[in-house]
């Protein structure tokens, strides 16, 4: 904690905790959990409601200072045990959640959101500014967020829907699907999964997609202006856009411009396919 504790820590040792307290204008909410579900919802009050289901040997600890509220659990020994949280926060708060074996869902927040879990799914709906989502073995879904969006999944799929801003992330084994994005920059990569991107390309925006073996599908609106730089070592490339080359050679980088340029798009793969086309011209390649 970086500030002095001004509120007394509340220690509750029952199987269910349900408490509502004044947020005091705090801008940051942090919660750490070893296991269980973390669900964060938003409301328009300057109050925090904390509901938690937990074992009787588990203690929920709430610390509050001028700018930050921190929730943690502890039990006998080092582990805090399995706790299912439902937390309702002032909509504008910045949220930081960490779990070891936790499914995390954040709904309707308007501030920054950071959600990291070792084993579990992460779902973020809403959020502005820095949005971080990380899971080693779970899926990640981010909807309607804007700002600097960063994700990392080791083994599972990532899906971003209706997001805007900058997007950076990777999934080693899973697919990365970015639907209807209004991104000013994208930098995503997967080793074995496919990458689907659909959305307008910003004038001056930069977009990088890389895979080792997966397919890269890039769907852009008709009339898009962009410079493309596409490269594949052993895979194939096709670009169904006005002004694009009809044939692409393997082991060479091919650059071309459509619609007078504007955005810069780079895609590369070792053995996968790269497919660029106008939106609405069919389902993405699997």
């Amino acid at each position: 904690m970086t500030g002095l504790l001004i509120g007394a820590a509340m220690m509750v040792a029952v199987a269910q905790t349900d408490t509502t307290f004044d947020a005091g204008g705090a801008r940051y909410f942090r919660l750490g959990s070893e296991g269980g579900e973390i669900r964060v919802e938003a409301w328009d009050r300057d109050e925090v409601r904390l509901q938690a289901d937990h074992g009787r040997r588990t203690t929920i600890e709430i610390r509050q200072d001028e700018d930050e509220i921190e929730v943690d659990s502890s039990g006998r020994g080092m582990l805090g045990g399995i706790v299912d949280y439902v937390v309702t926060l002032p909509r504008s708060m910045n949220v930081e959640l960490e779990g070891m074996f936790a499914d995390i869902t954040v709904e309707g927040m308007q501030g920054e959101v950071s959600a990291e879990t070792l084993q579990g799914d992460v779902v973020i709906r809403g959020g502005n500014g820095r949005i971080d989502a990380s899971s080693m073995t779970g899926r990640i879904r981010i909807e309607g967020a804007s700002g600097m969006i960063e994700f990392r999944s080791v083994a599972e799929d990532v899906r971003l829907v209706d997001v805007s801003g900058e997007i950076v992330g990777e999934s080693v084994g899973g697919a990365i699907v970015i639907e209807n994005a209004e991104a000013t920059s994208v930098d995503v990569g997967s080793v074995g999964g496919r990458i689907d991107f659909s959305g307008p390309l910003a004038d001056g925006g930069t977009y990088f997609f890389g895979t080792h073996g997966g397919t890269i599908n890039i769907d852009v609106p008709a009339g898009t202006g962009a410079e493309f730089s596409l490269a594949s070592q052993h895979g194939s490339i096709s670009a169904d856009l006005p002004g694009a080359p009809e044939r692409f050679e393997r082991r060479r980088r091919t650059t071309f411009s459509v619609g007078g340029g504007g955005a810069i798009v780079e895609a590369e793969t070792f053995g996968g396919r790269i497919v660029v086309r106008e939106a609405g011209s069919g389902e993405p390649d699997a």
Binding site: M1, T2, G3, L4, L5, G32, D72, S74, G77, M78, N94, E96, M100, F101, E112, L118, Q119, R130, S134, M136, T137, M148, E150, R152, V154, A155, V168, E170, V172, G173, S185, D187, G189, V191, G192, T206, F208, G210, H212, G213, E227, S229, A231, S232, Q233, H234, R251, R252, R253, T254, T255, I264, E266, E268, F270, G271
Partner: protein
């Protein structure tokens, strides 16, 4: 009260971010807890190592000039220069234990990262895009140096993973091993292809990219073990 103090609070203690009362409580705990004292000792060492690093900008500039002289100037005929590469904006919060652990290998990886940025057409120290050289065949030795640095850093983290694998759940470990095997396969593919085509900009780039992916996965695994 936990039997041990959580790592983030110990980090705050090492960085003197705790209030007087909380700091004193940590010190009282450390007097009787070898485990937490060891963590504090490791954190202090890591923070000291980080403090001894030159600033990021100056590191990049120095390395960049060396790389630049090997790469040469001018754009290749079929390479487009891109203004940005993968980046990690500064985080709002101070580094966690896992991040500090990862930062411990910065010394080994920073030059590799710079080479990687060169491959991506990025510029060092915020130099204008137009001045960034494109990759030519002379960049390959720099990539090989970076590859070796990654191998060393990866080996250290793999050793750590081996030591702590029993601390991970079987399904987590299985997912990790599957992912690491997939990345290793990709690295081997890139290396084998580079044997036939050592000057390929694409292959050199893919090799460094895969090394970085492996490093990041191992960092996550190391952080998970520390949890």
């Amino acid at each position: 009260m936990n039997a041990h103090i959580e790592a983030t609070r110990l980090h705050d203690y090492v960085e003197r971010l705790l209030g007087e009362e909380e700091g004193a409580a940590v010190e009282r705990h450390l007097e009787s807890c070898d485990h937490c004292r060891d963590i504090v000792s490791e954190l202090a060492e890591l923070i000291s190592d980080l403090a001894s690093l030159p600033s990021e900008a100056s590191v990049e500039r120095d390395l960049w000039s060396g790389i630049e002289s090997r790469i040469g100037q001018g754009s290749g005929p079929d390479i487009i220069e891109l203004p940005v590469g993968r980046h990690t904006p500064p985080r709002r919060i101070s580094a966690t234990w896992g991040q500090l652990l990862a930062a411990g290998i910065v010394l080994a990886t920073v030059s590799g990262g710079t080479v990687w940025m060169a491959l991506r057409g990025d510029t060092a120290g915020g130099a204008p895009l137009a001045q960034a050289p494109s990759l030519g065949s002379a960049a390959v030795p720099a990539v090989q140096v970076a590859d070796e640095q990654y191998r060393e850093a990866i080996t250290r983290l793999e050793d750590l993973l081996d030591e702590g694998r029993h601390l991970l759940l079987p399904e987590t470990l299985a997912a990790l091993e599957r992912s690491l095997a997939a990345i290793e396969g990709a690295i081997e593919d890139a290396r084998a292809a580079l044997d036939e085509d050592p000057n390929s900009e694409l292959l050199n780039r893919l090799l460094i990219d895969h090394q970085q992916s492996k490093l990041r996965v191992l960092e996550q695994a190391a952080a998970a073990i520390r949890l």
